[in-house]
């Protein structure tokens, strides 16, 4: 049943000085898949990327690519391209020479270098700039050249280390869509490192949420968003209402939890008395009494987000975040509002993990 993974990372560990940057990470990637490593800075995502590329030696663990154990293979013989955050274009070469570099280094026949370079420059819409020096390009253009350069050698795997972080938002969003389409066209397997949850949700087939040198959850974007496996994943991806409480009793497959916002029901099996953390995504909460969990809250602030309105409420001293289609008629800060959500939409975590 288990298909053999194209890239298989097993027990990758790395310690710098006395800091454990990676604590035995496992990750399997299928051929053609686009996987994001998502996490805050210092979570070990770039170190994991560098271990796969062979630029950093792991203290322990094994990396297998396309059936070959490449753990000890030098980086120039791995067939793994990297697109760096700083682009790292060759400043002394032209755009076309940058893209041709990897082909020439691998001894590709001279006659096929030119057409390949032209094809990849066209794919990133940089064909008109072939003879320009790279220093004369804008950030977005350099980015495109870096992607073309990495893909032109036909790597088994391309690693992208926060490639859009230096671009402004509008350009970044355009590039995200372009890159996703390009990678699908070329059919390259890709690992994408980012700290931007929107970027990860937009682009990935699967997201590995990383925290403190571990993968907390690895799943498709919808699962990551709707069913975050840990409080960290809940917190790092998207926004949410978080309520700490204590289980008072069980009701079949549900528990009743006492929280600052009142008694709430949630799916799960916990012993009465257990401390738990409840989470709810803002768009799951509706205004008015719609059954399930019902909370009396006071409006603190409302921010207009275009298509939707974000309501900041407070219930028993705890902040509650609601995303609604529109502001209720006549609601001003201080107004009392009733909100509700289905108990099945309540996420439950054992408390203490969040710390």
């Amino acid at each position: 049943m288990l298909p053999a993974a194209f890239l298989d990372i097993a027990g990758a560990a790395k310690t710098f000085g006395s800091t454990a940057v990676l604590g035995g990470v496992d990750l399997a990637v299928r051929r053609g898949e686009f996987v994001s490593l998502l996490g805050p800075s210092g979570c070990g995502k770039t170190t994991l990327l560098r271990i796969v590329a062979g630029l950093t030696a792991a203290d322990a663990g094994r990396v297998t690519l396309d059936g070959l154990d490449i753990t000890r293979r030098p980086p120039h013989r791995r067939d793994v391209s990297v697109v760096f955050q700083s682009y790292a274009l060759f400043p002394h070469l032209s755009v076309a020479e940058n893209v041709a570099f990897g082909l020439k280094a691998r001894g590709t026949a001279r006659s096929s270098v030119g057409p390949t370079v032209a094809r990849f420059l066209d794919l990133v819409q940089m064909g008109a700039y072939a003879d320009r020096p790279v220093k004369a390009l804008s950030g977005g253009q350099q980015q495109r050249v870096a992607v073309a350069r990495a893909l032109a050698v036909g790597p088994k795997l391309v690693l992208l280390d926060e490639p859009f972080s230096a671009l402004d938002r509008r350009l970044r969003e355009a590039m995200q869509i372009d890159l996703k389409r390009l990678l699908r066209e070329v059919g390259t397997t890709a690992i994408f490192v980012t700290h931007d949850q929107d970027e990860a949700l937009t682009m990935s087939d699967r997201i590995a949420v990383m925290n403190r040198g571990r993968i907390e959850q690895c799943a498709d974007p919808a699962t990551i968003y709707h069913r975050p496996a840990t409080p960290f994943a809940l917190d790092f991806v998207g926004t949410s209402t978080r309520l700490e409480g204590r289980v008072v009793r069980t009701l079949g497959d549900e528990i009743v939890v006492t929280t600052p916002a009142g008694l709430l029901r949630a799916p799960g099996h916990y012993l009465p008395g257990s401390p738990v953390l409840l989470g709810v995504r803002p768009e799951r909460i509706t205004l008015g009494d719609g059954g399930g969990n019902r909370v009396e809250a006071v409006l603190v602030d409302a921010s207009f987000k275009g298509a939707r309105v974000e309501l900041h409420l407070t219930a028993g001293g705890a902040p509650v975040l609601v995303e609604a289609p529109a502001l209720p008629e006549g609601a001003a800060p201080g107004a009392a509002l009733t909100v509700s959500w289905a108990s099945a939409d309540t996420l439950v975590y054992p408390a203490g993990e969040a710390a």
Partner: protein, 276 residues
């Protein structure tokens, strides 16, 4: 408004005045002195100079020692510059101090130290015999090899520092990008590191070559009178032989050779670095 000079340019005035008085004026005097003879302007002194085979030997000595010393400095200095650019914190500070501190020791003091090291029972001789390179102790002092060793010791910081200052500006990711694209370490060095480091290497070569070609104290102390270079010959002409005509001729020849080689190597390397 349009043609008003930038007032900031005035900041260069003190240096310009100083160089004008202590450098440009005497140099002009030297150049004039080398071609003006009683009876008018003539290039005859240069013709006479090159007719004498001894002067060819002297010019050969100068260029050979300068070239060898530059080569030794490059061979030692480049790896040191790489280490310096990669080092961080204390290690980097220690290497920098080790490179710069010896500059504060006078050349004369260093040359005397080398006299101790290079003599027949000196450290170098003992090591080479110990390693089996030499069958019996030999004297390096008063030889051309000894001169090159001593000169390289004095001038190697002038190779290391410009190379280091260029290397440290290169994004280490650029080399890593080359590697992940499939470049072997040698290919990466030839096609990426070397072209990017070239401006530093060229200034290092220009510094060391011009300083070695015109050094006076080091050959005087390490080899002595039997081995003449254009610089020592110039010095002897002025100081001992009181032959100012010969002195200004040799000085101009030395100047012309050094400038030609430094400018030539710079433009050559520019051209090599420009293509790939």
């Amino acid at each position: 408004m349009r043609n008003r000079p930038d007032p900031v340019a005035l900041l260069a005035l003190p240096a310009l005045l100083y160089l004008g008085i202590v450098y440009a004026v005497p140099l002009a005097g030297l150049l004039v002195g080398s071609v003006v003879r009683p009876g008018g302007v003539t290039l005859a002194p240069f013709a006479d100079f090159f007719r004498d085979p001894f002067h060819w030997t002297v010019a050969g000595n100068t260029l050979r020692v300068a070239a060898l010393t530059t080569l030794v400095c490059l061979a030692i200095g480049y790896p040191t510059a790489v280490a310096l650019a990669r080092a961080r914190g204390f290690a980097q500070a220690a290497i920098l101090v080790a490179i710069i501190l010896p500059l504060s020791v006078g050349v004369v003091v260093k040359a005397f130290a080398w006299q101790i090291v290079l003599r027949r029972d000196g450290v170098v001789s003992q090591i080479l015999v110990g390693l089996g390179v030499w069958d019996e102790p030999q004297r390096l002092l008063f030889t051309e090899a000894g001169l090159v060793i001593g000169a390289a010791n004095v001038f190697v910081p002038f190779m290391i520092l410009p190379v280091y200052s260029v290397l440290k500006t290169i994004d280490p990711r650029v080399g890593e990008a080359a590697t992940t694209l499939g470049a072997s370490p040698l290919y990466r060095f030839r096609k990426v590191t070397l072209p990017l480091a070239l401006p530093g290497i060229v200034s290092g070569i220009a510094f060391v070559f011009s300083m070695t070609a015109s050094m006076y104290v080091i050959p005087s102390l390490l080899v002595g009178d039997r081995f003449q270079t254009l610089a020592t010959l110039t010095g002897r002409s002025f100081l001992f032989m009181r032959n100012e005509e010969l002195g200004s001729t040799t000085a101009v020849v030395l100047l012309a050779l050094t400038v030609a080689i430094v400018v030539g190597s710079t433009s050559l390397s520019r051209r090599l670095g420009g293509s790939s």
